[in-house]
């Protein structure tokens, strides 16, 4: 048997992000999160609702990348951009976003890096939907390249609300949740007394010290850190079908 590949472990970890969600819009952004979302719906979360990446809700596991263009779509509903806000603000959604920076409380930055909002050192996406997502419904994060430049002590600009700031909002922060952070090294949650980020599992081949060294803040460590589970044969077949071109191996190369 060949060794399990890191990107496939990440796909399963990203699927697990949605476990228990039931009938909500699962809205993973990016190739590996999308593979994870499709995998979750094809296996343990069949009621998840997903988009085609544009303005349709589709019932089938449309492949990612170029393969999506020719794939037949089983359309469930019309969901133009404007209707997306109806879903977001209703709270029936769980998104996976890719942060440029994230701190130990889960405050996240997707906008820009630098000191000055009017002249950033590096412009990224902008605020996009970060504020609305994080105040309205569950937001998880995916980091394909775990490093101290992403997992930082303090983010340059808070776009996605973290647990400390949500707590300060009182009732207005009641819908805020960051169920998981998944990186190419491990899986993280905020199930600590002070709701700071905790290492939950390490991917096979990664040590706790590797994760510590790649993190720019003091990470809480679960009392027993297990390995992230690897795909079953059934899951591997679904992953291969959803990503026939193997785009995931470019996003997360094997170590």
């Amino acid at each position: 048997m060949s060794a399990v590949r890191r990107a496939d472990v990440c796909a399963v970890a990203l699927a697990e992000v949605f476990r228990g969600d039931g009938e909500i819009l699962a809205n993973p952004i990016g190739n590996l999160p999308m593979i994870g979302g499709r995998l979750a719906r094809e296996t343990f979360e069949p009621d998840l609702v997903m988009t085609d990446g544009e303005a349709l809700l589709v019932q089938n596991a449309v492949p990612i990348g170029a393969a999506a263009d020719s794939a037949p779509k089983v359309v469930e509903a019309w969901n133009p951009y404007r209707a997306m806000f109806d879903i977001v603000w209703s709270g029936r959604r769980h998104i996976i976003m890719g942060p440029v920076q994230i701190d130990r409380h889960g405050n996240a930055n997707i906008a820009w890096i630098g000191e000055d909002a009017q002249r950033p050192a590096r412009q990224f996406l902008g605020f996009r939907g970060g504020p609305g997502n994080t105040i309205s419904h569950a937001t998880s994060y995916w980091v394909p390249n775990h490093s101290p430049r992403v997992f930082v002590e303090k983010v340059d600009v808070v776009v996605g609300v973290g647990y400390d700031r949500a707590a300060a909002l009182g009732a207005a922060g009641a819908d805020h949740a960051i169920p998981r952070v998944v990186s190419n090294l491990g899986v993280f949650d905020f199930e600590t007394d002070d709701r700071s980020m905790r290492l939950r599992t390490v991917h096979p081949g990664v040590t706790v010290d590797d994760v510590r060294a790649a993190t720019g803040f003091v990470l809480a460590i679960a009392s027993e850190v297990d390995e992230t589970r690897v795909p079953t044969a059934e899951e591997q077949a679904i992953i291969d079908a959803v990503d026939p071109a193997g785009l995931r191996y470019r996003e997360v190369p094997d170590p």
């Binding site: 951009y81 902008g126 605020f127 207005a172």
Partner: protein, 273 residues
């Protein structure tokens, strides 16, 4: 009217809203006419794509009100990025849903709409003009027994002018989208004083309802002051089902951001031609 007729009705310093989304159904033939004109110091309000990037690169922009600027298949708009990192433009940033509320407030002629979106983020500290408001009601709209919830008061995004591009329209300003998403074009028009729509094809009014479901007739003539017939007018952005994005041309546009000679050639060929 023509693209240049639209430009003649705009002036320097105006706040201009642009329809479409990212690199989709942008009124690029009018944007190119603005790029060729002597207009300057514009404030752009958009779900941004190459409309914002091109006008930044052409030195037409003083300020951008935005939540993202993207070319979709190229996630970060390189010309906008360059202008931002040079400090060449001022920005006002919002969440994309706040943006919708701002346009909606302007369209409904109220000064703001309340939302939770933005609470807990750095928007309030970065942009002190953005205020909060205390709800006079309880959570279900009942009279508040004590202090109501504090909400962000998203200000109206009032526009001096708006430009949008639709698939079909008539000469009177009724407009039709035939793609999968209307985006926010009707709101941009409703939020503006002067309203301009380019269309792939102008057809007799009686034909409009035969070309698609009545729901596709999103724009009516109460919202529009002038119509430009502009076949291919959204290119290189997508205008489904008439045409997809011209990815090769978009790539050339994007790559020219880092090469002055390439950019001069691109402008000569595609903007000034």
């Amino acid at each position: 009217m023509t693209e240049d007729d639209v430009v003649a009705r705009l002036s320097s310093g105006m706040t201009i809203g642009v329809g479409g989304w990212g690199s989709r159904r942008k009124p690029m033939s009018i944007i190119r006419a603005i790029a060729r004109s002597d207009l300057r110091d514009l404030t752009l309000v958009a779900y941004g794509g190459p409309d914002v990037g091109l006008l930044c690169a052409m030195g037409k922009v003083r300020k951008v009100v935005y939540s993202f600027v993207s070319l979709d298949s190229i996630p970060l708009e390189p010309h906008f990025r360059k202008a931002r990192e040079a400090g060449a433009i001022e920005v006002e940033e919002y969440d994309e849903g706040m943006f919708l509320l701002g346009l909606q407030a302007a369209a409904w002629r109220v000064p703001f709409l309340p939302t939770r979106v933005g609470l807990g983020t750095d928007l309030l500290t970065l942009y002190p003009a953005l205020k909060t408001v205390r709800s006079p009601y309880g959570p279900s709209g009942e009279p508040a027994s004590d202090e109501g919830e504090e909400l962000i008061a998203m200000p109206a995004l009032k526009l001096d002018a708006a430009i949008v591009h639709m698939n079909r329209g008539d000469a009177h300003g009724n407009g039709q989208y035939l793609g999968v998403d209307p985006y926010f074009d009707d709101l941009f028009l409703l939020a503006a004083e002067r309203r301009f729509m380019s269309v792939e094809q102008v057809v007799p009014t009686a034909e409009l309802a035969t070309l698609g479901p009545v729901q596709s007739l999103r724009i009516n003539r109460l919202m529009v002051d002038g119509v430009v017939e502009a076949p291919g007018g959204a290119g290189f952005t997508s205008c489904a089902p008439d045409y997809d994005r011209d990815e090769a041309l978009q790539r050339r546009y994007a790559e020219a951001a880092t090469d002055d000679n390439e950019w001069a050639a691109f402008v000569a060929e595609w903007v000034n031609a």
